[in-house]
Amino acid sequence: MSEVIATNQTILVVGGGISGLTAALEAAECGKQVILVEKNPSVGGRVSQLYKYFPKLCMPSCGLEINLRRLKANKNLRLLTMTEVTHVEGDTGNYTVTLKTTPRYVNENCTACGECAKVVETEFASEYNYGLGKRKGAYLNHPMAHPQRYILDARIIGTPDADKAKAACKYDAIELDMQPAETQLTVGAIIWATGWKPYDAAKIQPYGYDRYPNVITSVEFERMADPFGPTGGKLLRPGDGKEAKNVAFIQCAGSRDVNHLAHCSRICCMATLKQTTYLREKYADDFKSTVYYIDIRAIDRIDDFYQRVQADTNITFTKSKVANITQDKDGNPVLHGVDTEGYHRYSNPHDLCVLAVGMEPSVPKDGFPMSIKLNPEGFVEQDPANGGFFAAGCSSDALDVNRAVQSATASALRAIQVVNKVAGMEG
């Protein structure tokens, strides 16, 4: 890794998802020196894994492209991928940060021609597609990945596959002896844009996510709907590859539940409403969908969207938290419960059941490399005790993209105030 220069007037942004990108760009475009670290091989985070945004149903790739262009054009911003923060010391305006970079085994010579991926045979479950489908041991996360550089999976290093990849590369970009690197930096403020992860659906025992192949999560459904996804945009049941035309959505799968996540994850209602529109998009009128909910929380201007979905006669709303799921002989998930509007007991078979899983912070409560004030759910508090630490996006709360970006801009402004103070003191 080449030399990274940073001073106590530098802002460190941890995490290169939509919030981290926004915070880093806003600060850099204000003329501040910014270092953006991302633990994955490319930036974009979970937004790059979405098919469409709600409520406008436009493609996230559009906004992402604009941000990538801003990123490439900005001289104040330095991006470090495959890098994590392992240690933080010091105080507001003067932090010493230790970064650890894991080897990518591919250097800057890479042109993303893809020859290495062609010769490598070993395949692994695709992280980008939440384990649906496979990817090669030499890969590019997705077509829009930035930086446009391939990566070799550490698990193929030392196997004949790695040598094949090296031999196939025409640009001398593959370095099989690349080592992990540790760097120490001084920074003035740190923005934690560490994001969220989907709640582990297997923990919701009665829903049988770990037992029934045709019970999937909303993030997996999102990948399926994407034309660049593992099924080429077809909504296929993982169990038998049959097209899913009768789809159940279960809301609050893991959220608002003292046994799982106590908080409301806020996005799942709108995500489900959005995903019901994918069914109409794919099948025109030839589909059925049922949304099982406790209450639909589509607030403010997105209520219009809810009303539009409600008007679709192929979509039914059942006010009920599903009690449990079984599977019939055709592999259909059968949902059991009581419809609280009239207390009707139901046992409904569906082709596919989508669990609208909740958001939990990516970093577990004891996972930060220094002490930081968190709320009981593990999100970073906005608290004076946190000094020069600020949270952007979903590390601060369960937020949709819109609110995450607002939160990121706010955190950039707070971090700028810290480094401005440092600059003022130093004259």
């Binding site: 009665p206 609050c252 608002r256 539940d257 003292v258 046994n259 799982h260 406790i294 006010k319 009920s320 938290k321 599903v322 009690a323 449990n324 059991h336 419960g337 009581v338 419809d339 609280t340 207390y343 007991r345």
Partner: protein, 208 residues
């Protein structure tokens, strides 16, 4: 109707939720229910209840005092704890059901012909006599719970099991004459009397 019932109607006039919170074990949880329906859907006896738990909670909040207390629903609970395990708000639903049943019984409003309630009473009466359950008498009183005709029929049906138990010394016919008891039955009666006094003072039964 007992005096106690009239007193409670008077005291909580028109606010059954408050009454439940004050007098029913774990009753202060009722307001936490968010009507998601997972308890009703999870109850293995759900289809046989007049009102599943979540409906009971709604009835309490809707002030349907008689409908709740006269109901046989909470007597149907078998304490499988499915509802408690799944309740997203952590309500101790099983305990509330038993609390409501106990309260209805105390008020004299529990359904008279409800089998669980009848059995519970038989069991209690049997137990407190000597401090030990007399299984022979309990079994017979259970057979004859619904009258002589049914009692004789059930006894004949269970005859072989009874004889088998006699033969293997799992049951003694001598139990019919008083039966075994604990060391100090008188002491036990005194304890129970005192416990009853304390409990009644706590919930404010005066000369019930």
């Amino acid at each position: 109707m007992s005096n106690y019932n009239n007193e409670m109607v008077e005291k909580f006039r028109g606010n059954f939720l408050k009454e439940v919170e004050a007098n029913v074990e774990e009753g202060d949880w009722v307001k936490m229910c968010m009507q998601c329906g997972v308890c009703s859907g999870s109850c293995p006896l759900g289809p046989h209840w007049e009102h599943p738990p979540q409906e009971i909670f709604m009835l309490i909040r809707a002030n349907k005092r008689e409908e709740v207390l006269n109901s046989s629903s909470m007597w149907m609970c078998t304490s499988c704890y499915n509802c408690i395990a799944r309740c997203p708000r952590g309500l101790p639903i099983t305990h509330i059901m038993h609390g409501l049943a106990t309260y209805a019984k105390r008020l004299g409003l529990a359904p008279k012909q409800q089998a669980t309630a009848k059995f519970a009473q038989l069991f209690w009466d049997n137990l407190v006599k000597t401090g030990r359950v007399n299984e022979l008498k309990l079994g017979l009183s259970l057979y004859f719970m619904n009258g002589i005709g049914e009692g004789i029929k059930t006894s004949l049906k269970m005859k072989d099991i009874g004889l088998g138990m006699l033969k293997t010394k799992r049951m003694s016919p001598m139990e019919m004459l008083g039966g075994h008891g604990c060391k100090d039955a008188k002491g036990l009666h005194a304890i129970l009397k005192k416990a009853k006094e304390i409990e009644e003072a706590k919930i404010g039964i005066h000369g019930a």
